[in-house]
Structure formats: C-alpha cells, structure tokens
Amino acid sequence: MTPLRRWLQAFAVHGVLLVGVAFALYPVLWVAALAFSGSNAPEPRVLPWPSEPTLAHLTEVVGATADDGGETIWIFGRQLLNSLVVGAATALVGVLIAIPTAYALARFEFLGKRRGMGVLLATQMFPAVASAIPLYLILESAGLLNTRTGLVLCYASTAVPFAIFQLRAAFEAIPVDLEEAAMVDGATRLGAFVRVVLPVARPAIAVTSLFAFMSAYNEFILAATLLDDSKMFTLPVMLQRFVGEYDARWEAFAAGALVVSLPVMGLFYVAQRHLVEGLASGGVKG
C-alpha cells in the first residue's frame, strides 16, 4: 500500500467514526444545552449551546426539597439514593438468583431443563401490559405495595431471565476442566463453583449486574404505579412530572435527565472494557 493510500484510508476511517460520534453525542449535548439555557424563547436551536446560560434549572431540580411532617427534607437526594439503592439491590438480588440457576443450566442435565428454558425465553416475549395488574394483586397480597422491597422484587424477577441467559453462556464458556481440577485438588462441587467458576466469570457477572442495575434504574411505569410516597420515588418518576401532557417544562426535564443519566454513564465508562468480554462469552451468543 502506498503512503497516500494508507493516509486516505485512515482519513476515511476516522471520518466515518467521527460522524458516528457526532450522531451519538448530539442528542446528549442538545439536552445538556437545554438544561443550561435560561431563555424561554420558542426558537429552534441547532448548535448544542445554551442560550443565556444559567444554572437555575439544575439547582431547581437538584435542590428540590419537600415537607415531611413539619421538617424539610432534601427530596432530590432521597430520590437519588432510592434510585441507586433500588438499582443496586436489583442487581444484587437478580444476579444472586440467576447465578446458581445459570450454572445448573450450563453444567447439569436434568428433567424439565429444556422446558424451563423455553418458559424463560417466553417471558421475554410477553408484553408487560397484560401482567402488570396481576402483579399488582400479588404484591398487594404480600403486603409489598408501596415498598421499595416490592419494587426490587419485581425488577429482580424480570431481570432474572435475561441474566440467566447471559450467565449460562458465560459458564458454558469456562472449561469444565477447571472445576474438575479443583475437585481433584480437594474442593466440593460447591467449593469449585465458588472458588474457581465465579472468579473466572467475573467480567460476565459484572456486565450482567450492570444490565440489571440499568433496567431498574431506568424503569418508571412500574415505579409510578407501585409507589405512593414521594420519599420513596425513584428519579424517573420525579422526572415524569416535568413532561406532563398539559404543561411541559423542557428545561427542567433536561436538567433532571442530565443528572439521572450521569451515574449510568459513569458505570458504563467503568464497565465498557468488560462489556466486550462479557458479551463475547455472554448470553447473546446463544
């Protein structure tokens, strides 16, 4: 290849990638610009640059307080904590439930295995519209309505099927030899699983946890239905208020959206290296 051709090729590659990056970033920047804009003029904006920059929307959203039986609490902080706690608990519970099951599916032959897998796949295809009301009844009878525990249980159980698929493939990719070596070395089946399989599957477990966290952190329909107490709200439910049908406050929404997105973006940044690894061994490989 001549130097010219090589240079042209690099130019083309970076050109295409830069166009992609622009496509990926533009909406985010646009929202950010909106969040910092003070002007309310209904003018179209093209460049993602705030007009009359202000922090007013951000401070309004982040600094939101509420009255709780006479004392003023920092409601935004409470809701942010709720979101993080619900997300983390969902990831923890969901992955803890999924791990042994995924392992059994990867390593054992047993009665009902194929049928069980079929049911798991089927749950992914059934739209939530029809199951929302029965779910509500079940939580009601368990006394878990309007609790974050109930919310976490719902999220975790809906995150479990996908987590099982992910982790099963990850476990299948781990050579059986490793466990057998551990068992010959003196470990029980469980010991081999805990001390060898789990550490080796760590990237896949991390990625699966991230997905479970995201599914809970981002969800709002169920949260809006199940929770009746603004002290227990998660951030998406709070955000929903800014874009009601009859009065939309786009700037406040944008400020809130920005704050809500930051933690997930941070996690993604940390996990992105594992993402490829996790998916290479993970569920989407079937």
Binding site: P42, D67, Q124, V129, S131, N146, P161, S261, Q272
Partner: protein
Amino acid sequence: MRPWRWLVAVLVATWLLPAAARATDRDGRIRLWHAWRGEEEAALAELLESWDGPTVEVLAVPYDALSSKLGSAIPFGEGPDIFVDSHERLGEYHRRELVADVGDAFEDGAYVGEAVDAVTIDGARFGVPLSMKSLALYVNDDLVAVVPGDLEGIAALAETLPEGVVALAYEANNAYAHAAILHACGGRLLNDDDSFGFVGPAAETSIDVVLDLLDAGVVPREADGALVTNLFRSGKAAFAMSGPWLAADLATPEGDAVRYHVEPLPLLARTRGRLQPLLTVESAMLSPSGAARPEVRRFAAFLASSAAAARRAERARAVTARTDTPSADPIVRAFAAQGRAAVPMSTRPAMRAAWEPANKALRKILRGDAPVTEALVEAEHRFAMVMRPPPPARSPTILLVVIGGALMFGAVVLVQRARTRAFREQVRRSIPAWLWVAHAVFVVGVLVVLPLLVGTATSLFGGPPGDVHYVGAANFVDILTARGGPLLASGSFWLTLLVTVLWTVVNVALHVGLGLAFGILLARPVLRMRAMYRVLLIIPWAVPNYVTALAWKGMFHRQFGAVTGATMALGDWLGVTIEPIAWFSRFSTAFTANVATNAWLGFPFMMVVTVAALGSVPKDVLEAAEVDGASRWQRFRHVTLPMIGPSLVPAVMLGAIWTFNMFNVVFLVSGGDPDGTTDILVSEAYRWAFTRDAQYGYAAAYAVLIFVLLSGITRGLDRIGAAAKAKVGP
C-alpha cells in the same frame, strides 16, 4: 471482600431506616393526592401550615397518571384518603367505587350551581368543589387597544398586527379548546344519551370556523400549551385563549411579562352564539376509607373553606366555586364571570371515551388529511367501538372441560412415566440440579410466570372493571376481524401489525447495519484513539431510554426542535425558506422520527456484539483468504460475515423481540401520531388497557397475540441461526 461488606451494610441500613420510620407514624395521618403544580401547589403548602388536625401526607401525581394510579390503589385499601381531581372523572370513579359520599364535608348553599351539579351523581355529593377552571380570553394590552366583540373581529385585526405576531393563540387541534367554538355552533362533544356529539352540522360548522382562521393565518398551526404560553409571553400573540395557568406562567418576580387583561370569550358572529368553554370543577374527593374518617371529612371541608379559597385565589389566582368569597383580582373575577358562561364537562364515563376520537378527528382535519364529514363519521365509529357493549357472557363449560381434560391427560401421562424405572432414575439424578434452580423457579414463577398466566386468562374476560365476565374467545375474534370494520382501517389489528413488522424490520436492519459498520471499524487492528471512539459510541446505550425518547421528541419539536432548526439553517444557507416540518403530522415523518430515535439508542448494543464476535474470528482463516487472493471486501463478505453470523443471530433475535415490544419510544416520541398510525401492537394494547375505558381483557388478548407472533418469529430465526451455524461448523 471488604468493600462488598461495606456496600451490603449501607444497603441494609438505607433500607431499614425509612421502613422503621414509616411503621410507627403512618397511621392516623391523612393521605392527600393531587395534581397541582407551581403556585397552586405552593398555596396548598401554605394552607397546610394552618391546618390543626392530623399530619397530612401529600403526594403530587402527574395529572395524566392520577386516575390510573387511583384506580389501581384504592380498590386494595391503598392510596389516598382524599384527592383533588377534575369533576369530569367522577362518573368513572363512582362506577368503580373509588369515591364515596362526602357527607358533612359538603357545605350546602355555599357553592355556585354549576359546581354543585358537577359533583352530584344521583342526588348524592361525591366531591367538595374547590375551584373552577375554564378557558378565557387573554388580551395583550400593548397590541390591542379596543377588543372586538366577536371572533371575526379578532380575525380582522390580524392584518393590522406587526410581522411575526399572530392574532389568536390557542390549541386549535385540541378538542378541549375546540369545544368552546363547538358550543358556539350549538354542538356538544357528548350528547345526553351518551352518543358521540362531535359529528353533524354543528360540528362541521365549528370546524369550518377554525379552518378559516388557520387559512387566514390568524391562529398558529399545531400549537400546544407551551407554544401558546411562549407566544403570548413574548408578545407575539395579540390574544390567547387559555386557562388560569397562563396567568401564573406570565408572572415573573419583576411583575407580569406583558401587559394584559382577561375577559370572557367573544361571540361567534356566524352563528350569533357565544364561545363557551368547557368548565372543570376541581373537587376534593374522598376514597371510601377516607370518607369514613371524620378528620378526613373535616380536612376536606377545610380545603374548601372560604379562607382556603381566598388563599388559593390570592396565591394562584384560582377561581373559587364558593359564592361567598369574591376576589378583588380582576383576572380572577374575569375567570369567575367566564365560569358562569361555561359548559360544565359531562361526568359520564362515556366522556372519557369521547376525547381520543374527537382529538384524532380534529387533528386529521386541520392537517388536511381527510374531508371534514368523513373524519367526523370515522370518529363516531371509533367512539362506538370503544363504547360498544362488551361481548355477552358465555358459559365457561367448554373451557373448564378442556382444562380438566388436559389436566387429567397430563396426570395419566405423568403416572405412567413415573412407573418406568428410567424415569425414576432420571428423577434421582435431577434432584441435585433442582436444588440449584429451586429458588429461581419460585421467584420467577410467582413474580413473572404467574402474572403472565393470569394475564393470559384475562384475555378470555370482558367488560368494564367491576363488571367482568367470561366471554370466551370473543376478544380474539373482535381483534382479528377488526371489530367488523375494514381489516386495514386505521387502528385495526392488521394495520398495526403491518406497521409493527415494518418498524421491527427497519430498526433491526439499521441496528445491524450501523452496529456492523462501527464494530468493524473499531475492531481494526491499528486504530488511533480506539478507546475514545468506543466510549463515545457507547453513550446512547447508557442513557435511560425514556430520557432518549423524550429528548428526541424535543429535537423533533416543530417550534424549538434541533431538527427544525437544522432544516431552517439549511434553508437560510441555500437562500430559500423552508417551512418547519410538523414531524408528527404525517405517517412517513412521524415514523422516521421514531426510527431515528430507536436506531440511535439501539445501535451500540449491536456494535459491541459485533466487536465481541469479531474477536473470535481466527486470523489464519482471513490470512488464508488473503493468500487466495480475496480482496478486503471479499474477505469480509465470504469469510468474516459467515463466521460471525451465527453469533450475531441470537443478538439479532433479542434485538427483534425488544424492538417489537419497544413501548417507550413509540409512546413517548410520536405517541401514535398521526391518527394512531405509528402505534405498534404494544402501544395499542396499552391504550386499550389504560386509556380506553380500561378494557383489560381486550388488552390482554393483544398481549397474547403479540406473544404468539413473537414465538413464531423467534422459532423461524432460530432455524436460520441453526442452519448458519451448521454451515460454519462448530
């Protein structure tokens, strides 16, 4: 190990603290739900300071979500003791027994007649009127010296106004606002006999009026509430037809944004009728458990008291429904006057079903997509479909016999198998594995599978909540025959299915195309700044998808959207004027907007999967192809692609399932506009469940059909995947 323990401790602590606090002091409190915003919410907070009863726990719920939240909480003894909502929902609430007689909270003789009528059902009072809301005419005093007496006069003023200023800003394509004109023409949205009113000569006249206004440029096209506010506030509208909320929005710390006053709506010269807006009476309503508590009734009376009304009027310019609390504020007085010349909204449950067809027809006509009469007749047909009596109850005997037979057969088979030695041996071997999966079976079984089964069973039932009965397969028959209408009519199952399939195919193709392209570029052996590109290209995946959806909706917004801005900038640059495109007024553009949003949020997943799959392509095979003389493209086409194909198929399958059921994007970006044509099956099911008279059985039947379709599709894709895998080898 350390950080983990620490994390768990924090989790447990944050869990227990609020729970403990809650267990001790929730009882005895009064729970109040409302949908107030801004100044009204502030007024409530002030009022609560002077309340001397039990602690009030307040929850602000978005107006759109309030009624479904009430419907899902109160029947279970959850939810509020008292809530504030518009009176027109009372009929529905009454039917579903979400409200009870307010008893001594209602002060006889204290309220204006319209308000009393609004909260009365069968002679009993089901709400305490708090305030009355209607549209009225805002006049910009800087632009208008003399207010014309009729709408035609306002239209005539348009020519005298400066460039870029509209004469009258109001939400022309919203049936709520349009009702004022409809009333002036002698029409109604809903007739007294529960038949659809927005049809016939009066409705057609009212639409002619609006079409004339639009054509003359008197009224802005496609205006929503935010635009009306913005136009009037920035002095770009001489008049606005809006509610008290506009006054609140016009207030700034330095005084009003523009000099204005409010007066009742004008006459319509053409019919000699007066424009009469719909009147909404915001009322405090009591849930059955709340109504039983004297302190809750006392609190309701407190909210409706003269002092409270005065406070709301002062703080939020709310128009009281009381006769004994006149306000000095000219704006409040103007709205009070308008209230006396308004038409109270019907409390009948049928009213709820009238909005969607009326709004759809109005939008369709004003866009010029359909002749007036045809659209109105179609709306009437739609209304009739929703209001159509549920299918007759059927005897569930056949179903029970089938289920019983299946159970018997299953039992027999099981017993027979259990007798064989091989089966017992299998059971013995399976027991250790079962121990590994038992907890997951339990949790997924109870919280995922059981609701799905109940949901599936729901599809065999029909009727409104409270009066549900078994109807056999009638829901399915109705759906598959498009309720007797033409099979490809707008809103029919088959058309929606077509749109859904198109939606899925286009999106998956874009995801795979973009994902492959960027994935392959990222996987190049030598690439500067690879890490940076990867991080930036993954960003759309990290953004919560409802945020994405709403952000894109904003970008396609006709007035301030970035896309609009870009086309206009392009136009400026080329020296031509490009009219801003109303993205959601045509199927092609609305669908494009949805697709753009979904392509944006979905491609990073396929990109990462591609990178992962490319990592498993052995280098020597590619080198062999290179030695054989294959060009770069040929190597990709004949070696790389077939080799990564099998590992892409499951991802594509998953992507297809997700896209097929991608409710958030469709619901939040286009919302089905125009005319429900961009709705996909899931959003259609959602509408039946939550906006159209709560027909859960019908929605569940949709869900079952979606499930059947998807399992068919995945089975097909699975076969393709298996074939591809077999070709490449292990």
